[in-house]
């Protein structure tokens, strides 16, 4: 067992998968330049030494290299695409949404698209074009799986599963959870490191984790918001409110079973998300609960989200923008109050 950060755990997963299968390779900007950073957040740092021909540094041509990855996957390669910031997925949106996500379906199931896309997200002091939570833009897109690892343990296991999946998988990684070190460290980071077992392991998609058991209310949250929800839960516990915290870990597929079991128990649910409220992941979760669990609800479903604006730069506004532990605590109390 070794304690690894998310960046390190992802690196280990990539290394192991590249050793296991020579069809696996990495492609992206600045991912393996000697003297460089191993991508924007050090995930691939040093891998070019072991795999000089399989860590592909590209021109700044997102549409282009996403398409290259797709083409190569058609003849059996298994690319792991690195995009420096999730926001740049928009530059390759046609390749992702019209090609990668649809080509198998259009072919009547005759081609396979084993592609992993890794994209950092998170509102982190960089302004509107380097801060977006990208999940909502892909959640509504059929043909692509979405994974959101909040711990190093999950990051490693889910990435390995993604690489072995014969379908496109998008992994959203949070900038404040990487634990990137040295010159690439990130202010405001949270420790998301885990003890990583020696033995190999993978984590199936569609299996949520109950991060904390509770009986009064269920909070569903991913990535950074999971940590805030957890912190809120601890504060609330001290005040006599028992909170269950669920981390879905993958959004597509989604573990409805775990969520429903929890709500059947608590009757109350809050979804916390870092993206703007309108059309966020929380909307789908809340809508499904409203459709399928109405009889269990003893309080209205609540969503805590960013406002419907881009991310502002100034730390003061950014702090207001991203849902805080306090906001979660307060909202939970409101819900408990009106429903007991």
């Amino acid at each position: 067992m070794a304690r690894l950060t998310i960046a390190e755990a992802l690196r280990e997963a990539i290394r192991e998968e590249m050793r296991r299968d020579e069809n696996v390779y990495c492609i992206g900007e600045d991912i393996g330049i000697p003297g460089g950073w191993g991508g924007a957040f050090t995930v691939t740092l040093g891998l070019e030494k072991e795999f000089p021909d399989r860590i592909i540094n590209t021109p700044i041509s997102e549409a282009g290299f996403f398409g290259v990855a797709l083409g190569s996957s058609l003849i059996g390669l298994r690319p792991i695409i690195d995009v420096q910031y999730g926001d740049f997925l928009f530059c390759a949106m046609d390749q992702i949404a019209n090609q990668i996500a649809k080509l198998r379906y259009m072919s009547g199931g005759k081609v396979k698209i084993p592609i992993v896309i890794r994209a950092p997200v998170g509102v982190t002091g960089r302004g509107a074009q380097h801060s977006q939570m990208m999940e909502p833009f892909f959640h509504c897109l059929p043909g692509i799986k979405i994974v959101v690892p909040a711990t190093a343990y999950d990051a490693k296991g889910l990435l390995k599963t993604a690489v072995r999946d014969d379908n496109p998988v998008l992994i959203f990684e949070h900038k404040l959870l990487y634990g990137a070190k040295g010159v690439r460290s990130e202010s405001g980071s949270i420790d998301a490191s885990s003890e990583i077992p020696e033995e190999e392991y993978t984590i199936p998609f569609g299996k949520a984790v109950v991060r904390k058991q509770g009986k009064d209310i269920t909070i569903i949250a991913t990535l950074l918001m999971m940590y805030r929800a957890y912190e809120a839960a601890q504060i609330l516990e001290e005040q006599g409110i028992s909170v269950e915290v669920i981390d879905p870990r993958s959004l597509v597929p989604f573990d409805w079973e775990t969520v429903k079991k929890s709500i059947a128990k608590t009757g109350r649910v809050v979804i916390v998300e870092e993206s703007p409220r309108r059309g966020g992941i929380g909307a789908e979760i809340a809508a499904t609960i409203a459709e399928e669990m109405l009889d269990f609800l003893i309080a209205p479903v609540r969503r805590i989200a960013a406002p419907d604006t881009p991310a502002p730069f100034s730390p003061v506004m950014e702090k207001f923008y991203v849902p805080s532990t306090e906001r979660i605590v307060q909202t939970v109390k409101e819900i408990i109050n009106i429903s007991s």
Partner: protein
């Protein structure tokens, strides 16, 4: 033209393929116009020498990408026209089991990636196939078919640059039919030859008559052999003309009558027929090929019409492997 090197057999094979494409398209047009066939269509009449010339230069294992106008490329790659016709009718026996339709026709077994109907969308994909061949040390090439209009998409630029930097076995074939939809090429670019654009990536660019199947074949052959032996990408511009509408029922009223007329005189099948006659091939043989082809197409139509539709719930299949 090294025409003397060709056996009559090979020449007739070119002819047969071109006619197969032409007759297929004419039959499809009729079926579409009479309302028997659903969807929308973009057809290939007039450009047959491009597909046939280029694809004849390929070997098993080579792969092409095609566009919203894929029928000609599919046939030239040897796809089964029964499965193509069935796809057009939305039948479960179609090459994409009815999921794709005209614009997404393809068969990876035959080296045809399902048609990419986003203009320019296929260029990086073909580049990636070439990239894969190189990474896997395979002796194959990728061919990327595109129209003149597609060369104004950013993906053209990004792709050719990567193919150049990584020296990939990819042939970019631009079928310059003078129009992107209704827009004449002169309205949307200032270069005289599209092949000039290759120099921005330091790759060779060639412009030739795309209605001369032998010239196309030879040019493609050279580029393919070069790519296959590690010589990197080539851009080939084929000058041709679309002698039908852009899509569906388009009367192509934006094409000046004079231009159309000239194009009809210069169309590849007419041109090649004269050449065959001059080589001493008899009219009868030529006619008989046309007849054979028509029969083959009628069989395909029959097959397609008699095939089953998918089940409605088949909608839910084929998303994930």
């Amino acid at each position: 033209m090294k025409e003397n090197y060709y056996s009559t057999e090979q020449l007739l094979m070119f002819y047969r393929k071109m006619v197969l494409i032409r007759e297929f398209e004419e039959r499809v047009k009729f079926l579409f116009l009479e309302g028997t066939m659903p969807g929308t269509i973009h057809q290939y009449q007039g450009q047959e020498a491009c597909a046939v010339g280029v694809c004849s230069a390929l070997k098993k294992g080579d792969i092409i990408t095609t566009t919203h106008r894929p029928h000609g490329h599919c046939i030239a790659m040897g796809m089964d026209i029964k499965s193509m016709m069935a796809e057009l009718f939305g039948k479960v026996t179609g090459c994409c089991r009815g999921k794709g339709g005209s614009m997404h026709m393809g068969d990876i077994e035959k080296g045809v990636v399902p048609g990419i109907a986003i203009v320019g969308g296929g260029i990086p994909i073909a580049t990636g196939i070439g990239f894969g061949f190189k990474m896997k040390n395979m002796p194959n090439v990728a061919v990327c078919f595109m129209g003149d209009g597609a060369t104004n998409e950013g993906t053209f630029h990004e792709s050719l640059n990567m193919a150049s930097v990584w020296n990939l076995p990819v042939i970019y074939v631009v079928e310059n039919n003078l129009y992107g939809a209704s827009t004449h090429v002169s309205l949307v670019m200032k270069v005289e030859k599209i092949s000039e654009r290759a120099s921005a990536y330091r790759i060779p660019g060639i412009t030739i008559d795309g209605n001369d199947v032998i010239k196309v074949y030879e040019t493609a052959m050279e580029a393919v052999e070069k790519a296959r032996s590690g010589g990197g990408p080539t851009l080939i511009e084929l000058l041709t003309y679309r002698i039908t509408g852009h899509s569906r029922r388009d009367p192509a009223a934006y094409q000046p009558p004079e231009e159309k007329k000239k194009a009809l005189e210069n169309e590849p099948i007419k041109k090649f027929t004269s050449f065959l006659l001059s080589r001493g091939v008899s009219k009868e043989i030529i006619e008989s090929i046309r007849e054979e082809v028509k029969i083959e197409i009628e069989e395909a139509v029959k097959y397609a019409m008699e095939s089953e539709y998918p089940l409605p719930e088949d909608t839910l299949n084929d998303l994930f492997a």
